[in-house]
Amino acid sequence: MDGSEPALRFDHASLAYGRVRVVEEVDGVVRPGESVALIGPNGAGKSTLLRAVLGLVAVVGGRIEVLGRTPARARRDVAYIPQADTLDAEFPVTAGQVVLMGRYREVGWLRRPGARDRGIAAEALDAVGLADRAGDRFGTLSGGQRQRVLLARAIAQRPRLLLLDEPFNGVDAVSQDALLAALAKLRADGAAVVVSTHDLALAHLACDEVCLLNRHQVAFGPTEDILTPELLRAAYGGQALITDGAVVAH
């Protein structure tokens, strides 16, 4: 594995939906094994940035390089983990089947997942501590457990870059620990992680770097340097109330 090439490089990247620019001048690097917290108020463009890394949003200025390639070319090695509560809780799939979906791209069109794929999926579910729930319907799990299942789905993909969209929202402590442990293991194996979050304590705990975003990049650097009251207030438009390690009321 080439350790010198960054997993993700933003080079003065600006993003737009049609003709409307929504994010300006993001600049920074994420190396293999590192994790970055994406922090900013609602509407700051965090989700848009994540989608741009997936090649789903137009880059109108500068460049985004994923694993040395363009975002669209790098997709097979990038895993995206949505918020669990955006998914239909009534859908008739089991936790195990959801994780297996992470193998579908590898399996390809028209073919069925084989024993090797099922083995990888089972391992992934075990890595988040939910091996015993494989046969249960996804919707019967708690919010935190569902989030873990979605992370397992990403793990089954064997990605080199993970993108998590507010994964800790409303998640119980046990699931939070399981998520953090699984993420730490992924980083130890060389994957890079980008997490969008409001939770500053988590950013301190789990992330090497922080990107502060409010439609334009406010700052990008090591966590301790960036999570200062002044910079946070600049990002949140001067009205942030920081309490208990999380940003509230912005």
């Binding site: 789903l56 997709r75 955006t86 859908f91 008739p92 799939v93 959801v98 979906m101 579908y104 791209r105």
Partner: protein
């Protein structure tokens, strides 16, 4: 038991049964996806937009032209629908309702210029399952097979997309193309059913079996099998009921309608069973 077998001794009833079973199975399987993707209104729209195609096909090439006309308009409608829905700024349900009635009224206008207006309208809207011939059975079987094979080939991608469209897009799956494919499969069922049950009643085949099966199981594989079985059973019971009503009670009940009513009755049974199931599960879940 003989009540369910005796009606089908005669060739025309046997052929009607063959078509009903075919449509029940195919419609049943497709209806699972219709229910999972919440495509009931889109499917209803397709049944109405295919109608002018039926009329045009008939005007151009007689009864054998119906399927071709329906197929042409089905493809046209699906493309229009998929285009409309990707321009997400449209209030979908109003546009669908207008598309549906606009196309339908074109069909009505074309039919109304003929002297045999009412008879034609009736046949196109409600089908004439008792007059199907071998050729129609073959056409239905072929269209049904294409629909099922497409679903089988794309099933894991279709399920992934249905469950997590954002995740599927993130993985690089062409979500719009997948949606187009499913809409085409639905349209194929409508075309396959047009001669037998007509355009108005086929919506029942495309919604009721899947909805009923969902009430009975939480496992996708089981739901598909149940839906196919319910679809076929509805066809069988409906035809038998229509026959019995006619022979025993001198009551003429349109066969397409009795098939639909049988399906709805099965849905009622499934709903009752489902309620018992979920309350039993709630009572059983006594965690300390």
């Amino acid at each position: 038991m003989s009540l369910l077998v005796e009606p089908f001794a005669s060739p025309f009833m046997a052929r009607a049964l063959a078509v009903a079973l075919l449509l029940g199975v195919v419609g049943g399987v497709v209806s699972v996806f219709v229910v999972l993707r919440r495509l009931a209104f889109v499917s209803d729209t397709l049944t109405h937009t295919v109608f002018p195609g039926v009329v045009v096909g008939f005007l151009v090439a007689g009864t054998n032209g119906i399927v071709w006309g329906a197929l042409a308009f089905a493809v046209l409608s699906v493309v229009l629908l998929t285009v409309l829905s990707t321009h997400a700024r449209i209030t979908e349900d109003a546009s669908l309702a207008i598309l549906l009635t606009g196309f339908f009224s074109v069909g009505v206008i074309l039919v109304s210029r003929r002297p045999s207006y009412t008879a034609d309208l009736t046949a196109f809207l409600f089908g004439r399952i008792l007059t199907v011939d071998m050729r129609q059975i073959v056409v239905t079987a072929i269209l049904g097979a294409v629909a099922l094979l497409t679903l089988a080939a794309l099933r894991k991608e279709l399920v992934f997309r249905a469950f997590d469209p954002a995740g599927a897009a993130a993985r690089g799956y062409p979500v719009v193309a997948l949606d187009l494919a499913l809409n085409l499969v639905v349209a194929l069922v409508v075309v396959a059913a047009v001669r037998a049950v007509g355009t108005v009643l086929v919506i029942a085949l495309l919604v009721v079996p899947g909805a009923a099966a969902r009430l009975l199981s939480d496992r996708l594989a089981a739901i598909v099998v149940l839906a196919a079985a319910i679809g076929a059973l509805g066809g069988w019971l409906g035809l038998a009921a229509s026959y019995q009503a006619s022979i025993e009670h001198g009551l003429r009940l349109a066969s397409g309608a009795t098939v639909v009513l049988a399906l709805v009755a099965l849905y009622g049974v499934a709903a009752a069973v489902g309620t018992v199931r979920s309350s039993a599960r709630r009572r059983g879940r006594v965690t300390p």
